[in-house]
Every structure is written in C-alpha cells, then in structure tokens.
C-alpha cells in the first residue's frame, strides 16, 4: 500500500486512474447488459413483470381483461408466452387498430423495453413459448435449400412460393414476408398469430425453422435474377403487363407506322 501511496503523484497516475475508472464502468455495463440479455431468454425480474402489468392494464385490458383472462373482444393470454407478445406488439399488430378480419401491422407503439416488460408480464401468467435466442436465429448456420423445401410444403400455400403473401377467406390474408425480422418470423411459427397455424418444435424442428428463416432472408437479399419481379405474384401480373404496357407500346408503334393515311 505504501508503494502505491508513494507513487500517487507519479505523472501517469491520473491516466491509470482514468483507465481504471473506464474499465470498471465498461465492465459493469457489459455485465448489466448480459444480465438483461439472459433475462430475455430465461426469466424476468419482478420489477419487469410489475411494469408490464401496469402497461397491460393501461393498453390491453380493455379487450383481454384485467387479468388477461380474455373477454368477448379478445382471447385469453394465459399461456401464450413471451414470444406471442413480442411478435404481436413488436410488429405493431397489438394494440389492435380496429376489430376486423385480422389484426393489421402498423407502426410499433412501444419501445423495446416496454415490449420486454409486457412479455415478462404475460410470460408470468403461464408457461408458453419463449422469445428465441440469438443462436436459433443465426442464419449463417442455416441451410437455405432445406429451408426452401420446408417453406414450400408448410408455408407457401398461404404466403406464396416467393413469400409475396396471399389471400385467405373473408378478408383475411397471409402477409408478404419481406422485411420481417428473423425473430418475428420465428415467433410467428411457434405462436401462430392471427389465422396462422402453430408450427411447434415437433412439427418443424428449431433447426428447420432456422433453415426457413435462412431461405427467406436469402431470397430477399439476392434480389430478382431476371429483372423487375412484378410483385412475384405469378402469371396474372405477367398477363396484366402484356395486355396493358406490352400491347400499349405495340399499338403506339402501329399508329406511328400508319400515321400517313392513304
């Protein structure tokens, strides 16, 4: 200790002190961050649940009931799990803009901390699917070809082979999947939002889910090899194009070629 106190006036003492302070602050911050991360995947703190409860009562209880027990206007949320909340609130579908055939995506209403608190509260009501970990979403370990096969067998009948979306009955629809985050795609598969069926882990394993996400991200990022893709909607868009623009250009030329009448 004496050696240390003797050198307290050393020219580099201030620098060492500053460095130490920074290291401690940074280390603490890192520790706090990783603690938070761990909580997202496993458990939530009591304060998160309490804050989530407040948010829930203020924003969700009108339809889902004060204790999330459900009402005529909305289903019970007991046992839907954190993943369902993270998907519905995280994509802006909840709180719902209006009752209709299905909840539409709209600008997200809460920040990430609030969504996490809401998830914590709903997760505390009963066991349900948890928010997937980073590892389950890491597309660098996925196989897009295997994912494409799973996608065509399980998803394409509603979402279209190129994930461009499609119609369901009575005004319901399967949305296009471009621009949806890996986490939300995964959560949709395990929770089955709106009219989507649940694809649990025995139906599509977590690895296959990651393959599907890899496939979707790859076809989204590769662009269209053949030029403008006309919405990837299939031959209707192609036929519409040739009958309007295609024949329009042809007719313009025929008129030009015969514009000097006899």
């Amino acid at each position: 200790m004496k050696a240390l106190s003797q050198r307290r006036r050393h020219p580099l003492a201030a620098v060492a002190l500053l460095l130490m302070g920074l290291l401690i602050t940074g280390g603490l911050y890192m520790a706090a961050g990783s603690v938070n991360e761990a909580k997202a995947a496993t458990g939530y703190s009591a304060s998160d649940i309490e804050e989530g409860n407040k948010l829930f009562v203020a924003n969700c209880a009108t339809c889902h009931g004060l204790n999330a027990e459900g009402s005529a206007d909305g289903p019970s949320l007991i046992g839907v799990g954190a993943a369902a909340v993270d998907f519905q609130v995280g994509t802006g579908r909840m709180p719902m803009q209006m009752q209709g055939p299905q909840a539409q995506a709209k600008p997200v209403q809460f920040d990430d901390a609030q969504i996490s608190q809401l998830s914590a509260y709903v997760a505390s009501l009963g066991a349900g699917p948890a928010i997937p970990s980073e590892d389950m979403l890491d597309t660098s370990h996925g196989n897009s070809a295997a994912g494409g096969t799973v996608f065509r067998v399980n998803c394409a009948m509603c979402h279209n082979a190129a994930a461009a979306g499609g119609a369901l009955t009575r005004g319901k629809f399967a949305p296009a999947l471009a621009g949806v985050s890996e986490k939300h795609i995964y959560e949709a598969m395990i929770t089955g939002p709106q009219n989507m069926p649940v694809f649990n882990d025995s139906n599509i394993t977590p690895d296959e889910k990651r393959d599907v996400i890899t496939f979707l991200k790859e076809i989204e990022s590769q662009g269209s090899p053949g030029g403008a893709k006309l919405g990837s909607l299939g031959p209707v868009a192609e036929g519409l194009f040739i009958w309007t623009a295609g024949l329009g250009i042809i007719i313009a030329f025929t008129i030009w070629l015969t514009s000097r009448p006899s």
């Binding site: 065509r152 509603c158 269209s224 053949g226 192609e238 030329f253 015969t258």
Partner: protein, 558 residues
C-alpha cells in the same frame, strides 16, 4: 427464237440478279407480290405482331432446345442457384435452372421465349377481336376466320404445353388441374388420364410427351395453318375501311414493294426490340421461386398463364354446392357407385365450349339472320353494326369475368376486400354481365350512329358563337368535307327481315326463329342519311339563319 441480243447487265449486282431471275423467275414473283396493295390502318397490324412473335418463338425456342433436357429422371441439383442446391428434382427442372443461371444468355432467351409466347396469344386475340368487330369474317372470308380460330386454340395449346415443361411446382399444379378435368369426363375420363400420363399422375412420361407436342407437332400445325391463313389473305385480298373511292371491288393502299416491305420488315424489328426490352427488364415465370414439382404442396398465387386463365376462373366460380344441391353426383350402378363431378366438368368444358362454338359459327349465324350472302370487302365501323358489336361485347364481358375470377385472390388482397365477396360478385356478373354488356354496347353504338347523323345533317360545330340582330346566340355549324361525309353516310343499313314463306307458301320453324332473331337484332336501327334527305334539309336551311349559308360557301371555296 428471238434474234434480239440478249440483255447483259452492267453491274455485278445486276449480273447476280439476272442469273437468279433467269433460273427461278424471281421477277415474276416480285412483279406479282411487289404490286400487291395493302390498305393502311393501325388495327390491321395485329396479325403481323402475331406472326413476328411466332418467328421469335421459333428462334428463341430453338436456342432453348439446345440446353433443355425433357426428362423426368431424378437428379440432385448442383448448379449455381444456392436456395435449391442439393435438392432432388427432375432433369427437366434442373436443366431449366441451368438455362436460367449457368447458360450464358439463357435466362434472357427463356424470358424472350415466354414473353413472346404470351404476347403471341394476346396479338392473336386482339387480331380476332378486330376482325370480329369490323365484320371482316363475312363472305368470302368465313373459312379464314375458322382457320384463325383454330390458330388461337393451337396457340393456347402451344403455350400450355410449354408452360408445363419446366416441371416446376406452378406448372405441375396446372397439369394436376388438367388431370382433374380430364378425369371428370364421364366413363372415359380416367382412361384418358391414364393414357396421357402413362399411368397414374404424374408418372415419368408426361414431360417428354409434352415436349414432342410442344416443339414438333403443335408448331408444325401452326406453321401449316399460318400458311393457309396467309394464302387465303392473298387470295381474298385485304379488307379496307369504308372511305371515298374505296369499293367492294378495289383495295386502296400502298404496294408491298417498296412501302410495305419496308414497313413490315421494320415492324418485325420493332416487335423484336419491344420483346427484347421487356425480357431484359422484367422477370417472367421465375421457376426458381416455385421449386421442383411435388404433388403435395400448392402455393398461393398459383395461376395459369393468362390465356388459360378463363378456364381456371370458371373453375373458381363454380360452386360445389348450391344450397343443399350438390354438383357431385354419386350414381349407383350394378357394379358399384360411379362419381360424376359436375362441379369440375361443367365449368371446365361448358363455357369454353359455348364460346368457341359461337365463335366458329358466327359468320354463318350472321349471314343466316341477315340473309346476306354477298361478298364483303368493305369493313363495318363497329358502331354501324350495333347488333354485332353488342354480341361481341357480351362475349368479351363473359370472358373477362372468368378471367378476373382467375385472379380473385389477388383482387382480394390488393383491393382489401373479402375473397368470398369477390367470388359472389363475379358469379352474379357471370350471369348478368354479358346481358348488360350487350344492351349497353348496342345502345352506345346506336347513339354514336345518331350522333353521326346529327353531324351529317347539321354540320360540325365550329366553336364560333354568333349573335343575331335580335340578340339570340347561336353556334355556327360548318359543312363537313366530302371525305368525312362519305364515311358517315355510307354504311350498310340492315333492316328487320321478317320470316319469309318458302316456295310452298309455308313458313318453316327455323325461318320463324330467324325472323325473331332478325327482329331482336335490327328492330332498333339508325338509317344512314340519304342524299335527298340532306338536300331537303339544305334547301330548308337555305332560307334560315345566315351561318349555314356563310359556312357552306366557305366549304365550296375550299
């Protein structure tokens, strides 16, 4: 036997031409065809578009045959499209992917082939609509109309067989629907299906079989039909729109050489350029999206190419049950229960059957109703044949309703309406649309005829407003120039021809039916202005307001 010195050309080009001419008689051909006159109108050029896109199809198709493998042998894809690498598929699909990703220029040629295919059928259709609405199918061209109709069906057959070749999920689903339709045919359906697919669907034979049809049989018949079609065009000469100096006995226009040779030749490259530009910029049939064919999945947005759309739409419109009445009949026979699937059979075959029957028979139906057996080389303006225009529009509407039904899912998602409601509305329109279309189109045609009459009798509006000494305002009307006048007054005035007794003084039942149809078609008509009518009105107006006098002298001075 001639003693004159033989002609010796001075230039080398001349010598080559002379050499060829003496051996094959080229100058005779050029003299005959080079002086052939074609009338000039933009609407006459769709047949050319069809011909040129067909040539494009032959060129691009030949390129594709060099690389396409029409086999359903199982292979593991190992090409450069990553999202399908390592997946098992047929050799046909794998080679289509190779054409798209690993053959230089292959994707462009595939897109040229497919874009020109759907443009080809569209051009054939528009050409037929032009021929129908202008009455160009009348004697002596009835047979050529039939050949044209056969060409339309062949074009659809060529398109569908080609669409199915890549053996992707989308086209496989289309084949599955065809298989279902074939199987719904009573008694023989199942056997026809087993015969077509060489066993149970999908089997391993259908792609090579479709390939033979697509690259050999169908194009060969199309070429033959195109030959007959063009031969008859030359024999009949081209029709022309009515106008001063144009009669049933002449053709007013430009000669093939040099005008049309240049125009048509140039137009080929214009069409080629348009198709190439579209193919370079826009994806068509991205087979890599659909994946290899597998009988279990069907993806959303599965539709056929546009020209098969109306059949798909009819299938989508057909209810399986109407209240408690089921369209699936289970008929007990001594050997067991046989199923008659009217819910598939009726929509798949009846609307198309009715449409093509009326289309092929129309020239004879029309000449039977109008008792018109004369030759016609002058076209009708569509407004001057309100009955035909109405019938044509009714056909177009019913086609378009079925067509729209083939995209009912896209209508639902893009206009944010319920898919069910789209189907219900289209079902209503399928019944009411053609009737409304007929009535509205005929009324519009009659009104346009009345407008023409009005213009002929009172001249065109000049936009000059005059004030009379009494303070009344009126617009000056100017006489039409004679060319315009000729077009507006010279058209065929079809009247009701009541049922006529035959030689024995008996009115046959079919003649009564003809009389009733004639009444239905021609009861409402607008007669063309006659010269005496016009002269009488002129005389009457001669004492009337000064503006008519002033303007008529003006037009005389011109």
């Amino acid at each position: 036997m001639s003693t004159t010195t033989e002609y010796t050309p001075k230039t080398s080009t001349g010598r080559i031409a002379h050499f060829v001419d003496q051996r094959v008689g080229g100058s005779g051909i050029v003299k005959e065809f080079g002086r052939k006159i074609f009338p000039d109108h933009w609407s006459f050029m769709f047949g050319e578009v069809a011909l040129y896109t067909f040539v494009l199809l032959l060129i691009s198709g030949t390129f594709l045959t060099f690389f396409f493998d029409p086999s359903m042998a199982h292979v593991i894809y190992n090409g450069s499209y990553n999202p399908l690498r390592g997946i098992g598929m047929s050799a046909a699909y794998a080679s289509t992917l190779d054409i798209s990703f690993d053959v230089r220029g292959g994707l462009f040629m595939r897109q040229v082939h497919h874009w020109s295919a759907i443009l080809f059928v569209a051009a054939v259709s528009v050409h037929m609509l032009r021929v129908f609405f202008t009455g160009a199918f009348r004697k002596p061209r009835e047979l050529n109309w039939v050949v044209g109709g056969v060409l339309l069906i062949l074009a659809m057959a060529a398109g569908f067989t080609g669409y199915s070749l890549p053996d992707d999920l989308l086209s496989g689903n289309g084949l599955r629907i065809i298989d279902g339709v074939v199987k719904s045919i009573p008694l023989v359906g199942t056997y026809i299906s087993l015969f077509l697919f060489g066993g149970e669907f999908p089997g391993t034979l259908i792609i090579p079989r479709l390939y033979s049809l697509h690259i050999m049989i169908v194009p060969a018949i199309i070429l033959l039909m195109v030959g007959i079609h063009l031969f008859m065009v030359v024999v009949h000469k081209h029709t022309q729109y009515p106008g001063p100096g144009r009669t049933n006995d002449n053709v007013v226009g430009f000669p093939v050489g040099p005008v049309y040779a240049a125009k048509a030749g140039g137009f080929f490259f214009i069409v080629y350029g348009i198709v190439a530009a579209i193919s370079g910029l826009l994806t068509i049939n991205p087979v890599w999206n659909y994946g290899p064919y597998d009988p279990s999945p069907v993806s959303a947005g599965t539709q056929p190419d546009w020209y098969i759309g109306f059949v798909d739409g009819a299938l989508r419109l057909m209810p399986g049950m109407l209240g408690n009445f089921s369209f699936e009949w289970n008929i007990p026979f001594p050997w067991g229960v046989n199923t008659l699937s009217l819910n598939v059979l009726v929509p798949a075959l009846i609307p198309a059957g009715i449409m093509f029957t009326i289309m092929f028979a129309w020239p004879w139906i029309e000449s039977w109703v109008t008792k018109d057996k004369r030759e016609h080389h002058l076209l009708d303006r569509p407004r001057n044949a309100p009955f035909r225009t109405g019938m044509g529009v009714a056909g177009v509407v019913s086609y378009c309703v079925m067509w729209a039904a083939a995209s009912s899912d896209l209508i639902a998602t893009h206009f944010h309406v319920s898919l069910n409601d789209v189907t219900y509305w289209l079902r209503v329109l399928f019944i009411l649309g053609p009737i409304l279309g007929f009535v509205v189109a005929r009324r519009i045609a009659l009104s346009l005829q009345r407008k023409d009459r009005e213009i002929v009798l009172h001249g065109r509006e000049t936009g000059v407003i005059e004030m009379s000494p009494e303070g009344a305002f009126s617009e000056r009307h100017a006489d039409l120039d004679v060319y315009k006048l000729h077009t507006l007054v010279n058209y065929e005035d079809r009247k009701v021809i009541p049922a006529q007794p035959n030689a024995a003084g008996h009115i046959s039942r079919s003649e009564k039916r003809r009389g009733a149809l004639s009444k239905f078609f021609f009861e409402d008509r607008v007669a063309p202005v006659t010269p005496s009518e016009l002269a009488a009105l002129k005389a009457e107006h001669g004492h009337g307001p000064a503006e008519i006098e002033g303007s008529s002298t003006e037009s005389i001075e011109k």
